[in-house]
């Protein structure tokens, strides 16, 4: 399934002239069971694609919100094996929503490329984003992911020029993630008008859907992005709802799903 599941989801939305709503949460935040409750509720809330963060002790591209989510997850004792178990349990409840794992290189190195890629495939994970693994260092990982039919998804950014873009799109599958602001997650705000031309360039060069993230917190911004890109990602605004609800875990589940519902609606209606 894997890469095909991502392609099928974008094909379906394209037929409906809709942009996709992508949500990000951190596995194990605030604990494994609560994050499972959130995960399993996301499709019904209108989420089209799920990004699931796997925690790392030194998340150097994250703003304070996701840093704290990783800290909470690790403090709760989350292991990478449990992240795969979360994904596997989610897959029992949903066979159509693409699930993308997102995180940093060292936990991947620690399992070995083949081990990590196979664990992804076995758990029903369709794609992988490794923030600190540029194409220059990705050959071994790409080989392993290709063999397991898991998409290695790359990021293009405001610092990417035309030549660099050609490097990035090689061996990329599923979609391209366009980082809308130079910076860490959840701090600067996206300017949809300002990035439209760049998004179009990335789409033309890659022939793949372009997913935009890093600076989207509100339904208004999400809708603006939905008009110029194939998908809008929201992470920090959802994760903030967890933080605000603590220590009431049940409330965290409700709040995240409510917020996701409002954002999903804004994205899906943006082109109407």
């Amino acid at each position: 399934m894997s890469v095909a599941r991502i392609d099928a989801r974008f094909a379906k939305l394209k037929a409906e002239n809709k942009s996709a709503f992508v949500s990000y949460i951190m596995a194990g935040d605030p604990d494994v069971e609560t994050s499972f409750e959130i995960l399993k509720g996301l499709p019904a809330a209108g989420v089209d694609i799920i990004e699931l963060g796997f925690p790392f002790s030194d998340p150097m591209a994250e703003g304070p919100t996701i840093q704290l989510a990783a800290e909470r997850s690790l403090k709760a004792g989350t292991k990478i094996a449990q992240v795969f178990e979360l994904a596997r349990r989610f897959r029992e409840t949903d066979q159509d929503t693409p699930l993308i794992l997102m995180g940093y290189m060292n936990p991947v190195e620690n399992m070995g490329y083949e081990g990590f890629a196979n664990a992804c495939a076995e758990a029903g994970i369709d794609g992988l984003i490794v923030v600190d693994c540029p194409p220059e260092e990705a050959d071994g990982l790409s080989d392993a992911l290709d063999a397991a039919d898991v998409a290695l998804i790359r990021l293009a950014t405001p610092t990417t020029d035309a030549a660099r873009l050609q490097t990035l799109i090689k061996r990329t599958k599923g979609f391209i993630y366009y980082v809308s602001v130079a910076g860490v997650t959840g701090v600067k705000e996206v300017d949809a008008g300002g990035i439209a031309a760049e998004v179009a360039k990335v789409k033309a060069a890659s022939g793949l859907p372009v997913v935009v993230g890093f600076g989207i917190r509100t339904p208004e911004r999400a809708a603006e992005v939905a008009r110029i890109a194939d998908a809008a990602v929201v992470g920090s605004a959802l994760v903030d709802e967890i933080k605000k609800s603590l220590p009431e875990n049940a409330q965290a589940v409700t709040k995240v799903l409510e917020t996701a519902r409002v954002l999903a609606q804004a994205v899906h209606q943006a082109r109407v």
Partner: protein, 410 residues
């Protein structure tokens, strides 16, 4: 003068991708990739420019006070009763440590690249002070990220940096130490990509920092070679240095890598002891390979690939990684890496103060703690050179505290 960047006859690491064997490389977020590649080009270009090196050496001579002396530590030699021990006196440099050599080189590169703003990370504050110093000299704003815990532990250095016009930003994320400061500096860089130069303080991180910092610091080993030939008429039998990130050590070691007769010994911080989980900072002797802060190297990490904090009494060695070139020299066996505990470093700190009239940095004290073994191994008639990388004035509070003494109103 222009041979600062020359490559020894056989040893030619790293390769074009910044690899020292299995180690090094370029593991950074995509937003930073164009900047890091641009930095590499600027560095390759500067390396070939004689005017760049002429300015570098002029500043080292008149601003830093180089060459630093190679000093025969007579009483320490007698104390151990083995080979003659020489100190390479990097602690006599302006700002009191080897760190300034690298900062001079990098500030010249930053100017050449037209950067308007300098950021740096610091642990004990030595690299922060050296960065603030060159920024004052070259009139560039300087922001130093420092773990909140270290800000508290190293108040005199925070005051020095402020006095030099730098802004010190305490980092409360994580555990508030050097690795967290480095994360935060990277976050600043990824946010301020257009005008900012990141001045990394050790021979680690993403390519080209490990090789660039090594090349700036290898002035230490080159001078040592000339000085020992002048004093003794031959090469030393061994060189020894403390290793945290490893810039003072690689600076001494690199010019000797092709000299097969010279033993190369690095000393890692064993903290409370190698057997204590998360109680040391010995990445080679107590860690395993992984990826952090832009490079593949040996790291302190748990079974799941999460980075451990580690521990050393010396804030400058208290880092969970090590420069990739050391990882390579360790794997190939060209260099040997031993360890010294907090306790042994404290003893060496006091011993050197009393015997030589030199208060060494706690970092350098780790090397001194093992130099006796090495001097005995080499034996009488032999020669050992130790990199006395920094002076210990900054450490007197830590040492007093460890010895259970109060320092009153200081």
């Amino acid at each position: 003068m222009t041979d600062t960047h020359s490559i020894p006859n056989h040893y030619d690491m790293p390769d074009a991708k910044g690899r020292f064997g299995d180690f090094g490389g370029l593991y950074v977020p995509e937003t930073l990739m164009p900047l890091v590649l641009e930095l590499n080009e600027a560095w390759e270009d500067a390396k070939k420019d004689e005017a760049f090196w002429a300015e570098f050496h002029s500043l080292l001579k008149y601003f830093v006070g180089r060459p630093s002396p190679l000093y025969y530590a007579e009483r320490l030699t007698q104390h151990f009763g083995g080979a003659k021990i020489y100190f390479k006196r990097e602690e006599l440099n302006h700002t009191g440590a080897h760190k300034i050599n690298n900062c001079i080189g990098q500030i010249l590169l930053a100017k050449r690249m037209g950067r308007k703003r300098i950021i740096a990370e610091t642990g004990a504050g030595q690299h922060g002070v050296a960065s603030a110093t060159v920024c004052a000299r070259f009139d560039l704003p300087c922001i130093v990220y420092m773990g909140a815990l270290d800000v508290e532990r190293q108040k005199p250095n925070v005051f020095r940096m402020n006095l030099l016009g730098a802004e010190v930003r305490p980092v409360t994320n994580g555990n508030g130490t050097l690795k967290d400061a480095m994360n935060e500096a990277l976050r600043d860089w990824v946010t301020n990509v257009h005008d900012t130069y990141y001045m990394i303080g050790t021979a680690a991180g993403m390519h080209p920092y490990p090789v660039m910092v090594r090349d700036f610091q290898s002035v230490i080993g080159k001078e040592t070679k000339e000085q020992i030939l002048e004093l003794e008429g031959r090469l030393p039998d061994a060189v020894i240095a403390a290793v945290g990130g490893g810039s003072n050590a690689i600076g001494l070691f690199h010019p000797f890598i092709d000299d097969d007769s010279v033993k190369i010994v690095g000393v890692e911080a064993a903290g409370h002891g190698l057997e204590v989980y998360n109680g040391h900072a010995a990445s080679l002797n107590g860690g395993r390979p992984g990826v952090l802060h832009g490079n593949r190297t040996y790291l302190l990490q748990d079974d799941d690939g999460q980075i451990l904090e580690g521990h050393s009494i010396s804030a400058g060695l208290d880092y969970p990684g090590i420069g990739p070139e050391h990882a390579h020299l360790f794997d190939t066996g060209r260099a040997r890496y031993v360890t010294a505990t907090d306790k042994e470093a404290l003893e060496a700190f006091q011993l050197t103060s009393k015997l030589e009239g030199i208060i060494p940095a706690l970092e350098s004290s780790h090397a001194i703690a093992r130099v006796g073994d090495l001097a005995k191994e080499v034996g009488k008639g032999g020669i050992v050179v130790l990199n006395l990388s920094g002076r210990g004035d900054k450490d007197i509070f830590t040492v007093a505290n460890a010895l259970g003494q109060q320092m009153g109103g200081l």
